[in-house]
């Protein structure tokens, strides 16, 4: 069952049908979504941003402040859409490019600093360098295991192990639990 919308959060207000909340959400998280999309999509980021926000409006009711910060939830929705787009683009390459307009200062504000980001940064710090490198290539640039293997020269199995183990460590740090064993 979905949680009752928490009207103290922007997503809760979106879910409750507050028409102003949509603009508030764009103002607060537009830069975040845009920046993640740029990492994955480069010049195609605008289309991706529109799709991400459509996903976000539909998913807003699922947001539960007890589980994660709003920024982390928004980033998760963004990543899912971007990963889907990247997987389908691998099947159907595109060469179209889009001209970008000048950025505006009014949307330059990032999301509120969230605890998960700080915890993740500290946990990243504790990973072995090669594990951190693989994890960041997968996470921040949406590179496939095969692409990372080609980029780093590591065997495919090693890349998969580093990526999975690295993510398991970060998750354990965020949840404050022991890593799931082999």
């Amino acid at each position: 069952m979905l949680p009752q919308p928490d009207l103290s959060t922007v997503l809760g207000r979106v879910a409750s049908g507050d028409p102003v909340a949509v603009r508030d959400c764009l103002a607060r998280y537009g830069g975040l979504v845009w920046s993640i999309a740029r990492r994955f999509e480069g010049d195609d980021a605008e289309d991706a941003v529109q799709e991400i926000f459509l996903d976000l409006w539909k998913s807003a009711a699922r947001y539960d402040a007890r589980v994660a910060s709003e920024a982390t939830f928004v980033a998760m929705i963004a990543r899912r859409r971007l990963i889907d787009r990247r997987r389908s683009r691998r099947r159907r390459p595109s060469t179209e490019t889009i001209e970008h307009e000048a950025p505006i200062a009014t949307t330059a504000h990032g999301p509120d600093t969230c605890a998960e980001a700080s915890q993740a940064a500290r946990a990243l710090d504790r990973l072995r360098p090669e594990q951190r490198n693989v994890l960041l290539l997968a996470t921040c640039h949406g590179m496939s295991h095969g692409e990372i293997a080609a980029e780093t020269g590591m065997p495919l199995g090693t890349v998969k192990a580093h990526a999975r183990r690295g993510l398991i460590s970060i998750r354990a740090a965020l949840l404050g639990v022991q890593e799931e064993g082999p």
């Binding site: 830069g31 926000f53 940064a121 990243l124 490198n133 921040c140 949406g142 999975r164």
Partner: protein, 248 residues
């Protein structure tokens, strides 16, 4: 590592194909979003937030699928004051407290904005404060790619923040390239310098840019600025290094 954990980690990092998604569903773990949230947290921890392009927010709103959102004209238990049918004098009397409240609010907002502007130090002032507090200052050494660039980097290890100052650095087109700072930490593997954030330069005059280190820097020995693709990279190929500053 169990198969469900493998699939959950892969979904969060690279996505699953249909067969894998069905396998995860069959294992009864497809509702577990904790790995996806962990990957999202990594994104947040390493991201340099850039503003959306002008007009994109409006296009997002315009593209929004019709939903059952209506602008409320009434709220439960409340109604808009019916003033249209009142006599002008009576209407003015009824409006006076509202106008007074609005004027007071406007004065408070203007005053608060003025106070905030005064209270927020400029980049230049904050840089000077860091220097006064003992931060390290190192002059940039230009490379052949930016031979006329001068300036310095100021870094406070205790505050874990600092500023880059450039004069003569070529403005970039953010749609094509961005500058990215790298911080070499003596306590870390030198093959993996700390990402100091991506930034744009819009003027060849003096530009001050705050440093946004993504990880804790214990002992900064070298700062280097490279030209990278928009959004920056996780590991630079160091093909286009424009300036460097090494601690002596």
């Amino acid at each position: 590592m169990s198969r469900d954990v493998e699939l959950l980690a892969d979904r969060a990092l690279v996505g699953l194909d249909d067969d894998e998604a069905n396998e995860l569903r069959a294992l009864g773990r497809d509702d577990d979003e904790s790995y996806d949230l962990a990957a999202a947290a990594i994104d947040l921890a390493t991201l340099s937030i850039q503003p959306m392009p002008a007009g994109l927010a409006e296009r997002v709103i315009a593209a929004r699928a019709p939903v059952s959102m209506k602008i409320p004209t009434t709220l439960a238990g409340w109604s808009m004051p019916q003033i249209a049918k009142q006599a002008p004098e009576k209407r003015r009397r009824r409006m006076a407290p509202w106008l007074a409240a609005a004027a007071t609010a406007a004065i408070v907002i203007v005053g608060l904005s003025w106070w905030l502007l005064r209270a927020t130090p400029s980049l230049s002032d904050d840089r000077a404060d860091l220097l006064a507090g003992g931060a390290t200052r190192i002059d940039w050494k230009a490379t052949p790619e930016a031979s006329t660039t001068t300036g310095d980097v100021v870094w406070s290890a205790s505050a874990q923040r600092g500023y880059m100052r450039f004069v003569g650095l070529t403005p970039n087109d953010p749609a094509k390239t961005q500058y990215q700072l790298w911080i070499f930490d003596k306590t870390r593997d030198q093959a993996f310098p700390v990402d100091g954030g991506v930034f744009d330069v819009t003027s060849t005059g003096e530009v001050i840019v705050p440093i946004a280190a993504k990880l804790h820097v214990d002992d900064a020995t070298l700062f280097a600025v490279t030209v990278e693709r928009p959004g920056g990279v996780v590991v630079s190929k160091r093909e286009h290094v424009v300036v460097m500053a090494a601690r002596s």
